[in-house]
Subunit: 480 residues, 2 copies
C-alpha cells in the first residue's frame, strides 16, 4: 500500500495562521462548502448532523419553558417590512428581492426574510384580541437570508440556519422576564452542552438589534482572542407591536398595547465550537452534541476474530445508547486515527488481537490523547464516564482560557496594549456616549463594545476615553 | 356565565359540503391560516406540532436505511436550473425569481427552489470522483416554493414544507432498489403511523415527475372519494446526473455514469390526515402522531380536591411517557369536550368527585366516543392499550372505506358511472397511449391515471378507451 498522507498534514497550524486553520478544518472535516450561489453554503452531512443535535437539545430546553413551534412564510411583502422604521432601515440594504412569480412581474416586491418580526406581528395583529390570547410564545427553525458582501463558513454567509423566537405579553414585566429567561436558556445551553463559557450582558445603544429597546447577548471567546456573539435576546417594549396595531382587551374590556421579545441562535455557533475547542489535529467536539461519540477502530483486522469482536463491541455500545460507529475500511489504523481526530469524534476505541486475548479495549480521548485501558465487559458504563469527563474538561479548559484573556484598562493605551498583546476581552469604564464608543474603536485596535454585564465592577470613576463621569463598565473586544 | 357556543356548531357538516367542512376544520382546529403573502401559509402551533411528529417518525425511518441529512441553498441560479431540459420545462413557469440583492440588480437571476435536484447534482459534480464516494444517500427538510394560481390549506400552497431525498449510486440496480425502498418506507409510515391505507404503484408517462424515468407513488383515498397523491419516489436513471457530468472512476480507473433517485413527502399529508379520519366534530388524529394524546378534563373542578387529583393524574401520565395536557380553564366541561374533539385529541380523561371517590377515571375515545371506566392506578398501562386500539381501528375503518371504493370498469360508461356514483378508484385496462389517457379524463368525469400497481389484474384484453390491446391495468380517480 502506498504511504497515505495523514489528514492532519493537510491543515495549517492553528498558531501559524488561525484564519487558514479554520478554513482547512471546515474543509477537511467536511462540515460545509460553498455552493454555486455566491455566499451561500452547502451544509454537508457532518456539519448538518451537528446542527441537528444542537436543534434537538435547544428545542427541548425551549419547550420546557412553554415555547410552541410554528412556521411562517419565507417571503415578506415590502409594505410589511416597512411598518417599523428602525427595522426597515436596519435590514433594507441587505435583503434579496423577489420581483417575478413565474413569468409575471409582481405588483409588490417580496423580500426573502432576513428575520421575521414583521411576519409574527402581522399574524398577531389579526388574531390577538383578548387577554385570554396572551402570551404568545412562538419559535421557528428556518433559514434566513442577508445579502452580505464578505462571507466565511458558518461565521457569515448570505443564507444561514437559525431559530427565531418571538413572543408577546400583556405586561412589560412579563416580556422583560421572558427576554432574560431565554438569554439564560442560551447561556446554559452553550455552557452545558457546547462546553463554551461566555461573558453575558446587555448591548449598548449602537450595538442593539434594529428596533429593539434592549438586546441581551452572550459572547464567547475564540482561540485567537476574538469574541463571537453567540446568541441574542431582544426586548422590544411596545413600539414594534404598536406599529402593527396589536392590542388586547383586558377583563374590563379596556384596550392595551402588548410587549414583545425575540431571540435567536444560528449556525454561527458551529464556528464557535470549532474555534474554541479545535486544535492542530482538527475538530474537537463536545460529547453531548457530537454526532458520533465514539468510533471503533479494529487493529490488525485481517486476523481471525478481530472484526467479529469489533462488531460485537459496536452493537453493545449502540444498545447502551451511545452514538457509535466503526471504521472497518481497508485504510491503515494510522490513517483512521487521523481521520477520527480530524472529525473531532470525542473518543476512539482500539481493539486488536492482544486486547481480545486480555478481554480489554483501549479508549483514546480526542482532547488529551490519553489512552485508557478498559475491561471489555465494563465499556458500557466506563465510556459514559469518560465522555462526561471530556465534556467537563473541555469546559474547564475553555474557562481558564477565557479568564486568562480578560484584562482591565483605565486608559486607551492600556486598552490598546491589552487587545494587541493579551488578546481577548478588556473591561473598561464608559460614559455612555456613542462618540466615545466610536473613538475607542479607532484608537484601541478595532474593539467594539461587546456587552455591559449585569453586575458591573467599579474600575474607575471616569470614561476610559473622554474622562467624563463613567456610567457603565463595558466588556470590549475585537469580534467576528 | 353566558351560554357558550360549542365549537362543533361552527363547522359545516362533512356530507353537506366537504370542501367547506375541510376549511372549517383547518380554521377551528387552528392548524394554519393564510399569511399576508398570497398563497403562503402560516403553520400555527397545532399544525406545526403535527408536522414535527411526522418529521420525527419519518426521519427515524430514513436514518435506519442509512440516510444522511444535509441543507443546500434556498436559491438556484437560472443557469443551473436550465441544465436538464425536461426539468426546466416542468418548473420554469412556476418559480419565483430573485432579481435584486440589497440595492443592486443581480447579474444572473436566482429562483427560490421549487425542488433541489439541480443543487444536489451540482454538489456531486464537484465532489464525487471515485467509487469510494458512492453511494450518496442525502435528504433535506426544507420549504419549497411554486407559484401556484389556486391554493388550499395544506393541499396546494405556494410555499410548502417537505423533505426531499436525493441519492446517487454506482449501478442502475442499486438506484432502482433505493427508489423502491423509499417508496416502501413511505407506504409503511403512512399506513402504520398515520393509519392511512394506500394504493401504490408506478405513474404513467404523463404523470411522472419532470425529468424522471420512473415515478412510484402512494395514493390515499379521501372521505369524499377523491385521491390524494401522498408521497412519490423517482428513479432518474443517468440522464439527469449526466447533464451535470457526474462521473466516477471504478477500481480499474474507468469512468462511469451514476444513477440517481429522489423522493419526497410534504405537508400535503396533513390534508390527508384531516380528510381520511376527520368527522363532523372536527379532527381525529392517529395517536402515534397526535401532538397531544390525552387531555385531562376535571369535572366540577371547583370542588375540593378535584384539581389536585387531576394534576396528580397529569403528572402520572407524563411520567409514563404520554403526551398529556390538562384543561383546567374556567370553561364548562361541555365546551372543553367540544374543543378536545375539534382538535382531534385521541382521548380525554374525565375526573370528577364521584370518580375520585371510586378510585377511577373515565376515558373517552375520540373516534368512537366510547366511555371506558379505568381504575386510576391502572391508567398508566390501560391508556396505552386504548391508544393502540384507536390507532388500529382508525386504520381498519379507513381500509374498509378504501376497499369499498375501488370499482372495476371495462367501458367508459362503467367508469363514468363508478366515478360519479360509487366514488373512489376505478380499475381499468389501458393501451399505454397518452391520447387515451386524455380522452378518459374528458369522457369519464375528470379522472386521471393514479398508478399502475406492481401486481396488475387482468380485467379485459383491451383498453377501456380505444379497444386496442391493453398494456396495463391502471387505477384511475379524481384527485386533489
Amino acid at each position: 500500500m502506498a504511504k497515505e498522507k495523514k489528514l492532519v498534514q493537510s491543515i495549517t497550524s492553528r498558531d501559524e495562521d488561525f484564519a487558514q486553520w479554520y478554513t482547512d478544518v471546515v474543509r477537511e472535516a467536511k462540515l460545509c462548502d460553498y455552493s454555486g450561489v455566491k455566499g451561500c453554503l452547502n451544509y454537508l452531512p457532518n456539519g448538518y448532523a451537528l446542527w441537528e443535535n444542537i436543534q434537538a437539545d435547544l428545542d427541548r430546553r425551549f419547550k420546557e419553558t412553554g415555547v410552541e413551534n410554528v412556521y411562517l412564510p419565507v417571503l415578506i411583502p415590502e409594505s410589511l417590512l416597512q411598518k417599523e422604521k428602525d427595522h426597515i432601515e436596519g435590514f433594507a440594504p441587505e435583503v434579496a428581492w423577489v420581483t417575478h412569480g413565474g413569468e409575471e412581474p409582481l405588483q409588490e416586491r417580496f423580500c426573502i426574510r432576513p428575520t421575521s418580526e414583521t411576519l409574527f406581528c402581522d399574524v398577531w395583529s389579526k388574531t390577538v384580541q383578548s387577554y385570554r390570547d396572551l402570551p404568545k410564545v412562538w419559535n421557528q427553525w428556518c433559514s434566513v437570508l442577508r445579502w452580505e458582501k464578505t462571507t466565511r463558513p458558518f461565521l457569515r454567509s448570505r443564507e444561514f440556519l437559525w431559530q427565531e423566537g418571538h413572543t408577546i405579553h400583556a405586561t412589560y414585566e412579563e416580556a422583560e422576564e421572558r427576554t432574560k429567561q431565554m438569554w439564560e436558556v442560551y447561556k446554559n445551553f452553550v455552557e452545558e452542552d457546547l462546553a463554551i463559557p461566555v461573558v453575558a450582558g446587555r448591548k449598548t445603544e449602537s450595538e442593539k438589534f434594529a428596533g429593539a429597546q434592549d438586546t441581551y447577548t452572550i459572547e464567547a471567546l475564540m482561540h485567537d482572542g476574538q469574541a463571537l456573539q453567540s446568541a441574542t435576546s431582544h426586548f422590544f417594549g411596545n413600539a414594534f407591536p404598536d406599529a402593527f396595531n396589536i392590542k388586547y382587551a383586558d377583563k374590563n374590556n379596556e384596550l392595551h398595547s402588548v410587549y414583545e421579545t425575540s431571540w435567536g441562535l444560528s449556525t454561527r455557533i458551529i464556528g464557535a465550537i470549532i474555534m474554541v475547542h479545535g486544535d492542530d489535529s482538527g475538530l474537537v467536539l463536545p460529547p453531548r452534541i457530537a454526532p458520533v461519540q465514539t468510533r471503533v477502530i479494529p487493529i490488525a483486522q485481517h486476523k481471525e476474530g478481530v472484526l467479529d469482536k469489533a462488531g460485537e463491541l459496536l452493537d453493545a455500545l449502540r444498545s447502551a445508547g451511545y452514538r457509535a460507529k466503526i471504521d472497518d475500511s481497508e485504510k491503515s489504523p494510522g490513517w483512521k486515527f487521523s481521520e477520527q481526530e480530524m472529525l473531532g469524534i470525542p473518543t476512539r476505541i482500539e481493539i486488536g488481537p492482544k486486547d481480545i486475548e486480555n478481554g480489554q479495549v483501549v479508549v483514546v480521548r480526542r482532547d488529551t490523547r490519553e489512552k485508557i485501558v478498559v475491561a471489555i465487559n465494563e465499556i458500557g458504563t466506563k465510556l459514559g464516564e469518560i465522555l462526561e469527563s471530556i465534556q467537563k474538561d473541555l469546559y474547564a479548559k475553555a474557562k481558564v482560557f477565557l479568564d486568562e484573556h480578560i484584562s482591565s484598562a483605565t486608559t486607551l493605551d492600556e486598552m490598546k496594549d491589552a487587545v494587541q498583546n493579551k488578546k481577548g476581552f478588556v473591561k473598561a469604564m464608559w460614559c455612555g456616549e456613542e462618540t466615545c464608543e466610536e473613538e475607542i474603536k479607532v484608537r484601541a485596535g478595532g474593539v467594539t463594545s461587546r456587552c455591559i454585564p449585569m453586575e458591573e465592577e467599579h474600575l474607575s470613576d471616569v470614561c476610559v476615553c473622554c474622562g467624563k463621569p463613567a456610567k457603565h463598565m463595558v466588556y470590549w473586544g475585537r469580534a467576528y
